[in-house]
């Protein structure tokens, strides 16, 4: 009996407590830097697309909302011919970002992407690509990878030795 009265009293004391509701449209919530929101595709520091169209994100995606087609440019650099994310399916799990070997696909702290038509939630590559490098400012996949592309031969990547000539007997 007493505990009932005590409960009522404690609940009444809540009238003097601060309300925890965030009045959203007027009062924006704080979003952590690693908040998993709208997906973007980032670029190298020197402006090239980072995505190498390896399809790992599309494979990792549990809802299958990523579709892309790989192709190669004249320098031998792989890139996606198209890259499509259907945000009406995306669950913002971030697996694509984890799977990406080149830091190309990244999730951003932005969730305000409501639309009146479902079709408008299908984002193409133009909608996804941003101008900057996103969360990894200095990273350039093609500078580090040992793959040969136009303008960079084998052994010319950063932290890479010149290739060993296997035909010579000299030490």
């Amino acid at each position: 009996m007493l505990s009932i009265l005590r409960t009522i009293w404690y609940v009444f004391l809540h009238s003097f407590q601060k309300r925890i509701t965030v009045q959203y449209p007027e009062q924006k919530p704080y979003l952590a830097p690693r908040f998993r929101g709208r997906i973007i595709l980032s670029r190298d520091p020197d402006g090239g697309e980072r995505c190498v169209a390896c399809n790992l994100c599309a494979v990792a995606c549990p809802v299958g909302c990523i579709a892309l087609q790989a192709t190669e440019d004249e320098k031998g650099r792989r890139y996606p011919e198209f890259f499509r994310i259907n945000f009406s399916r995306c669950i913002f799990c971030g697996y694509c970002e984890e799977a990406c070997p080149t830091y190309a696909i990244q999730l951003t702290p932005d969730f305000e992407m409501g639309e009146f038509h479902r079709k408008n939630l299908v984002y193409e590559k133009e909608d996804l690509l941003i101008d900057g490098p996103g969360k990894y400012p200095g990273y350039n996949f093609w500078r580090i990878a040992g793959v040969k592309i136009g303008g960079k031969d084998k052994g010319e990547a950063a932290h890479e030795d010149a290739p060993v000539d296997v035909h010579t007997l000299l030490p």
Partner: protein, 316 residues
Amino acid sequence: MTSPHPILSILGVVIVAMSIAAFLIWVERRLLALWQDRYGPNRVGPFGLLQVLADSIKIFMKEDWIPPFVDTPVFILAPAIVFVTVLMSFAVLPVAPGIIVSDLNVGLLFFLAMSSLGVYSVVLAGWSSNNKYALVGGLRAAAQMLSYEVFMGLSLTGVVLLAGSFSLSTIVEAQKKIWFVVPQFPGFVLFLIAGLAETRRIPFDLPEAESELVAGYHSEYSGMKFGMFFVGEYMGVTLISSMIAVLFFGGWLGPVLPGLVWFFIKMFFFIAFFVLVRAALPRPRFDQLMSWGWKVMLPLALINLLATGAAVLARR
């Protein structure tokens, strides 16, 4: 004390009672939110006040679906009964000197009779729905309201003994010296609990118990028929709060402010208390509810009645 034209006062009571009941939708949600550290509806209009309007437009626009398996006439009648019985009780409620639809000399008995009739609404709704959850809800309502009605009446006999009348305005006048809550404190507590049970609100909402019985007796109701139960419940809260104010807290009596204002202050205080109880307490098990009613509350009410009777006799 000149009474206004009867039709005018009837209209006044109906309109005021129904608008308070509608307004309570907003009040309850805001108060619950306050006690749960939220805001509640605050978007529609100033402080969310137009939420009432939005809700009523919504509920009028909903499809009023009568399922094919129900007992149609009874199904339609049931929500009307709760509405009518509660509104009838407002007829004997003295709001301020002279502002009363009908100052019956058996006003209190009329109120008790009407609140007993309210049980029919719930039971018939549960029965005619032809749904096992609704039926269980209706059965629970019948058991609960009958057992709590018993000591509800008994808890008020102390007041009647002290005032020497069943007429509610005479009861208010008899509290000029001291509010009945002081000499009749056990009666007040008993009536408060019985009133909560009577309105089927949260600690006593076993008839609807949404976690066990879908929505209990009104599972099959939709649209404005559901709205009638809803508004009927809120009018019941208003009625019980006003009754507490009239019977134990001196109705319109109070210093400085006019009687009408005092009445509404007291009424809203108890409405807020009802919401507070809803915010604070869980629902008991059904057997706990019944044993409380019969083994604790009824003996207490009887003891209170005996003690009051003895005191009144001794003073004579």
